[in-house]
């Protein structure tokens, strides 16, 4: 129902979004994954008609929205990266204001406010000023405000940045429910791959303004089907041993932590024998070995040589 065609945005000398073509089908939950500065927010601003593309097009039901953004704006519920709320007003007053902007009034307005407040679980604290809320609660109202006009598509720009795990789970659960139970189409932007992995059917991975990979989670992970991730835990830190292990022939990538080491190796490589051999030589004790199925994080690592948090 919604697509972008070779969407490009240039700010002076930075190419923030470069030739991005996305597609959103009805009822789908799509993830836009990429590290900070990848161009996610810029892409979303263009999709939601807030920013004019340098070139390319955004289409809703096959019709360009650049000239007449009205239809798109009616259909979209946008949750911006920032808390786009009046801090000096209560959650209830914020929702009332945004509801009235969309022409709601009277009983209908009150009903809708009640519904979205229930949705984000803040019905009993709606009278408090937004500035007195925790970061997580503010994020929840931020979502509620985007839901006031019963949008068909929910576009979220890193809605979980800087919030406590409990609020985060609540928010993710809410979005999941909206998508699964109410058929809401969702475009979810994040640099947390766990979230995208948990929430989305299909994923676009962005880096440096470009989409570098796309497809269902399974398809993306198949990129790594010829690889395995081995995660080894030791009783303490052994920098020399870690270095040695990283240099074993065949190891494609190594990522050392305090007491653990993550190695990406070709499928079928016989690593364990040499691992225990080297460990013994260094007098190290292996406390845990775990062969992981690849994550989207690993996919990103493979594609770019960097982690999402870099």
């Amino acid at each position: 129902m919604l697509e972008t065609d070779k969407l490009t945005k240039k700010f002076k000398d930075t190419l923030a979004v470069d030739d991005v073509s996305l597609e959103l089908r009805k009822g789908e939950s799509v993830g836009l994954l990429g590290p900070n500065g990848a161009g996610k927010s810029t892409a979303i601003a263009m999709i939601s008609t807030l920013l004019k593309p340098s070139s390319g097009d955004v289409r809703l039901h096959g019709k360009s929205v650049l000239k007449d953004p009205g239809d798109m704006r009616r259909v979209l519920g946008v949750v911006p990266q920032k808390i786009a709320l009046y801090e000096e007003l209560s959650a209830y007053e914020n929702l009332k204001f945004f509801g009235r902007l969309y022409g709601l009034s009277g009983k209908k307005l009150e009903q809708r406010i009640g519904y979205v407040l229930d949705l984000v679980g803040l019905a009993d604290r709606k009278k408090e000023l937004v500035k007195h809320y925790s970061g997580g609660m503010q994020r929840r109202v931020n979502l509620a405000a985007a839901m006031m006009h019963e949008p068909e598509v929910l576009i979220m720009d890193e809605p979980t940045v800087g919030i406590d795990p409990q609020s985060r789970n609540h928010l993710l659960e809410t979005i999941r429910r909206l998508n699964r139970e109410e058929g809401m189409t969702v475009l979810y932007t994040s640099h947390y791959m766990e979230e995208v992995e948990k929430l989305c059917d299909r994923v676009y991975i962005m880096d440096h303004g470009k989409v570098i990979a796309q497809g269902t989670k399974e398809k993306l992970k198949a990129i790594l089907s010829d690889q395995e991730t081995v995660w080894i835990e030791f009783d303490q830190s052994y920098p020399e041993l870690f270095k040695k292990l990283s240099e074993i022939e065949g190891v494609q990538h190594a990522d050392a932590d305090e007491r653990s080491l993550k190695l990406i190796i070709p499928k079928g490589m016989r690593l364990l024998a040499s691992l225990f051999h080297e460990a013994e030589r260094h007098g190290a004790q292996v406390t845990n070995v775990h062969v992981q199925t690849p994550t989207l994080e690993d996919v990103f690592l493979r594609l770019t040589g960097r982690t999402l948090r870099d």
Binding site: L51, E88, R100
Partner: protein, 419 residues
Amino acid sequence: MGAFLIKDIMLLLRDRYELIILLAMPFLLIAILGFSLRGIFSGDLEALEMDVALVSEDNEAQGIEAVQNNVDGMGLSQEAEQALKQLAESASPQTMLTSLLDSEEISGLVAIERMGREQAEENLEAQSVDAIIIVPDGFTQSALNNMLFGASGGAQLEVLAADGASPKSDVLVSILEEFVRTVNFESSISRLAGDRATVEISGGIETITAQKSMTSFQYYTVSMAVMFVLFVGSAVARQANLEQRQMVFERIRLSNRPPLLYLSSKAVAAAAIVFIQLSLLFGLSTLLFQTFAADSWDFWLGIALISVVLAVSVGCLAAFMVALTLRVESDAVPAIFSAGVISLMAFVGGSFVPLDGMPESIRTIGSWTPNGAALSAYFSWMLDPDVHQLSGPLARICMVCVLFLAAALALFPRKGGAA
């Protein structure tokens, strides 16, 4: 529109900082200035006490008689003659001056001693008096001729002041000028070399009964009010900047409301807030300091009219500032405005010092500021509730409104499309 208005006004009422600036500060200033400078307006300020010699070289009785004889020769009806003669006697300028100087208010401020010219000048030399008021020969006659028959020339009062006594003599001059204004003659003061000021009196008979002047509370209630309404402009612009930074503005755009609705709501909100602010300032001042007579409907109607026009003009100013703030995407606009521009406007508008002594150019600029024009409208209404006298300043305010609106429309970022 309603949603925007309610939200904007609610936000302002919750902003303690803005409320202090918009209400508490002007009210405090009205109270402080009203009390401490009461003397300048009514004369019980001991600190300014000065000794003044009054030298009369004028023969009052002779002057009145001459004028009355003059009336005889005009061939008027018996009654008219009688009335004019009566008037000449009761309106004698010198008597009025004397009673002013002897009045309770002035006598606390200025100690008047009548003496001959030579002695007065000696005393001035010896600094035992601070100034001399000279009522020149023929004063009564020419003043009355002027008043009753509109004869040109007019009478003059002279003030001689000792060197270095200038602040005090300024007060004296303004009192005399006030005297002139009190009987509502046209007046002008021209300062001469050697600290000599001349108060010229000329004018017509028809205005002689309008005996009104202003109290310090009236003066400062008006001048502070017209100054502090300007802060509503920066408050509203600051709000717009916050909306832009916090991306609430984006949300508003997403609702697909016409962008101009946003701008006009800001203007209307500002105007509404200004009107509330003015009502509170005038109301509280009257309630606590008995600044204005509370029971005159006509008087308050005029004040309300001027306040509405002033409120609308600040609304237009706010629209202009909002447009500019959104255009440059910075809160520097309201910051500069409230830190500097307002003081400047208040100064040229006459909120700090009366503009009587200012150069013509400053007075002209001041008369074109919304606050300056409103100030003179308020003052003129307070001294003489005549609607016709309001048309000048109010028309100027309206023209300035149109300018502000045009500038606002030119600057406002048209983000209606996918821009």
